[in-house]
């Protein structure tokens, strides 16, 4: 007898629970395009993981204004054709109100005509400057523009009195965008490019390029790429006994790079988002809280280091969340709210969007860090690095 009552009760409870779900407002659908597999999976995977993590956190906390957020992620495989199809699906079939991603500049550029036409806000996690320059109505981005990193590097070189550099960039969209900026900005910083070399994303030996660079008159090497290429470069530099300062891009700002490059990583300098040195930041740093919580949460959930790239997705998702919290529900309203974002302390930096600036960051988003004893160390430079801290 008691059993039956128990059963009935539990069934009732279940029905109630289900009813409460259906009664609650429909979830807000947000789309995401990441290159989870394929050659750019080093971007897409942490981004996807981070976005899922952020959305789970939102939903656990009761959603936004009582509505849950449902994140629909499609894999673009780093292929523009697939990105276009996936974006169309998000907009037309899933009817999302906003899109975060894609991971790469190429995918983003391919998707832009669609979101512009359909009027869906998109926050790209790719770095290419072309994405928001010129500003497009519906397109925002969270990844720091390459030119900011380049400015940082050139400023740093200035403090060191280095005027001649050699470039060694990877021939994918990350590297070619960096190369473009490095070459474009060189003149205004009075930097002379003594050698301009590239390597393929799957290359296994860069001694040839480095030998050529050694023979040039460069006083520093700037290598622009993402793992594992730069790690091989670091090792090759050591092998060849090159003593020039080696500067890399923010593309390697994770512990993984140190692990891959091993001993050869010592002394390498990079411009990086604050995330890898979060614990070294002064307590007064406005970004510190967000950074620390991101690093901790990611570590707890995925047993891996939350990197810089995942941070782009964190920022993108958080920006969308903030816009929603401010009452936006339609794509157009979200877009309008996004554009009004001011002083958002994100992972990538402090964002300030405006109708003419959909990238929202300044070069302060970067700090210069170096590698010491197998860990990242903030360069507390009197001029270049210090300015960032002082400015706030």
């Amino acid at each position: 007898m008691g059993k039956i009552i128990f059963k009935t009760l539990s069934v009732l409870c279940l029905m109630l629970a289900m009813a409460s779900v259906t009664v609650a407002a429909e979830p807000i659908k947000v789309g995401a395009l990441f290159s989870v597999t394929g050659p750019a999976s080093f971007l897409g995977e942490p981004e996807r993981n981070t976005a899922v993590m952020v959305v789970d956190k939102i939903n656990k906390a009761g959603g936004i204004k009582g509505r849950k957020v449902s994140l629909i992620v499609y894999d673009t495989q780093g292929d523009a054709t697939k990105a276009v199809q996936a974006a169309t699906r998000l907009i037309k079939d899933d009817k999302v109100v906003a899109i975060i991603g894609p991971s790469t500049t190429g995918d983003t550029m391919a998707v832009i005509p669609i979101v512009e036409k359909e009027g869906i806000p998109m926050i790209s996690c790719a770095a290419g400057i072309k994405i928001t320059d010129p500003a497009k109505k519906w397109v925002f981005k969270t990844a720091q523009n390459d030119n900011l990193a380049v400015q940082r590097i050139y400023e740093y070189l200035k403090t060191q009195g280095i005027k001649r550099v050699a470039l060694l960039t990877v021939s994918d969209s990350f590297g070619s965008s960096g190369r473009e900026q490095l070459k474009g900005l060189a003149k205004s910083y009075g930097v002379d490019i003594a050698a301009d070399e590239t390597y393929g994303p799957k290359d296994t030996d860069m001694t040839a390029q480095l030998t050529k660079i050694r023979g040039s008159e460069a006083k520093a090497i700037i290598c622009w790429g993402t793992n594992p290429g730069p790690a091989i470069v670091a090792r090759n530099v050591k092998q060849l006994g090159i003593t020039l300062p080696l500067i890399m891009s923010h593309g390697v700002s994770s512990k993984k790079f140190i692990e891959l490059a091993g001993d050869a990583s010592a002394g390498i300098i990079i411009p990086s988002g604050h995330v890898i040195v979060a614990d070294q930041l002064p307590g007064s740093d406005p970004q510190k809280k967000a950074l620390m919580s991101y690093v901790k949460e990611y570590q707890a959930r995925y047993k891996a280091e939350g990197d810089h790239f995942g941070g782009h997705a964190w920022d993108a998702m958080t920006l969308v969340k903030m816009a929603l919290e401010r009452g936006a529900a339609t794509p157009a309203a979200i877009r309008a709210q996004l554009e009004k974002t001011r002083n958002y302390n994100g992972i990538g930096g402090i964002f300030n969007f405006s109708p003419t600036d959909h990238a929202g960051l300044t070069k302060d988003a970067f700090v210069m860090v170096t590698i010491k004893n197998g860990d990242w160390v903030l360069i507390k430079d009197k001029k270049a690095g210090g300015k960032a801290g002082a400015k706030k």
Binding site: E197, T207, Q209, P228, G262
Partner: protein
């Protein structure tokens, strides 16, 4: 323009990558000679070598020699399984079908490795330190020496096997005339299985000795496989010295091309040379005669 030290460095670098291409290329040739199949999954054996060694070192915590041995054994096993499941059941298949099957196999192996071990790149410690050694005005790492020594050893072992052991001779006999081989009692199917085992072992060994320099991840096999294939074609699909030269030629020209011409077009240079050789000497640089198998 370029100093002799530079040229020397280009050549040394090229020789070490070329040695790897040669090992992979010989793997291609061995399977091709015994079956007429171009095994597009050859690159995946290379990847498996590196990845398995990483696995045995870090997860199973074996000492390096044991890890290397275990990795080669497992990769060989994968080769054998691949032959049994995907190649042997096909009788009288068209070459195009076989090409597709091996491409499918390559995707499959890559996919499984990606799922099991993730997409991260992994480093393998150098076998004996990282202090550069000076050769004239150029430098190499101890690992380069390992590469040269192991490559030479493998090629010597290969030569010994194919020319001085009865089973190796039987394999050569099979590749020349399978019908007559059956008449002297050679089990042709077993030889095909052997060929997959040997080339999987060689490929994985190549992957292991190069991993300390280049790192390894689930997708390193594709480009290495293609370059190895170039080496084999240039060498006229010989499982011996021809392909070794083919590999060294590709490696050195690539390195010289990157150093002297343009690093961006480095791979294009390798494939351009390949095309020229195919157009002018389709049987490869080192094969005389007209014994092209159809």
């Amino acid at each position: 323009m370029a100093s002799s030290d530079q040229i020397l460095q280009y050549c040394l670098s090229g020789l070490s990558t070329g040695a790897i291409y040669a090992l992979i290329g010989i793997g291609f040739a061995i399977i091709y000679n015994s079956t007429g199949i171009i095994n597009f999954a050859q690159g995946e054996f290379v990847m498996l070598g590196g990845m398995l060694t990483v696995f045995f070192l870090s997860v199973a915590v074996l000492p390096l020699p044991a890890a290397v041995t275990a990795a080669v054994l497992v990769a060989t096993l994968v080769g054998v399984i691949f032959e049994r499941l995907a190649i042997r059941p096909l009788k009288d298949a068209q070459p195009i079908t076989l090409i597709i099957i091996t491409i499918g196999g390559s995707i499959l192996i890559r996919g499984i490795v990606m799922l099991v071990w993730g997409k991260d790149t992994h480093a393998l410690p150098a076998f004996s330190g990282n202090e550069p050694l000076f050769v004239g005005g150029a430098t190499i790492l101890p690992q380069h020496l390992w590469i040269f020594v192991i490559t030479v050893l493998i090629i010597a072992a290969n030569r010994l096997y194919f020319h001085h052991s009865i089973s190796g001779k039987a394999m050569r006999a099979c590749s020349y005339n399978a019908r007559a081989s059956r008449l002297v009692g050679i089990d042709v199917k077993r030889m095909v299985l052997f060929s997959f085992a040997i080339s999987a072992a060689m490929g994985s060994m190549a992957g292991i000795i190069i991993a300390p320099l280049t790192m390894t991840s689930y997708d390193v096999g594709v480009m290495l496989g293609l370059k190895g294939f170039c080496a084999a074609i240039i060498g006229g699909m010989s499982s011996g010295i021809g392909t070794v030269f083919g590999g060294l030629i590709v490696g050195v020209l690539e390195s010289l091309g990157a150093g002297l011409v343009s690093s961006g077009y480095k791979d294009a240079i390798a494939f351009f040379i390949l095309l020229i050789i195919l157009f002018l000497r389709p049987q490869g640089l080192f094969r005389k005669g007209e014994t092209e198998r159809v």
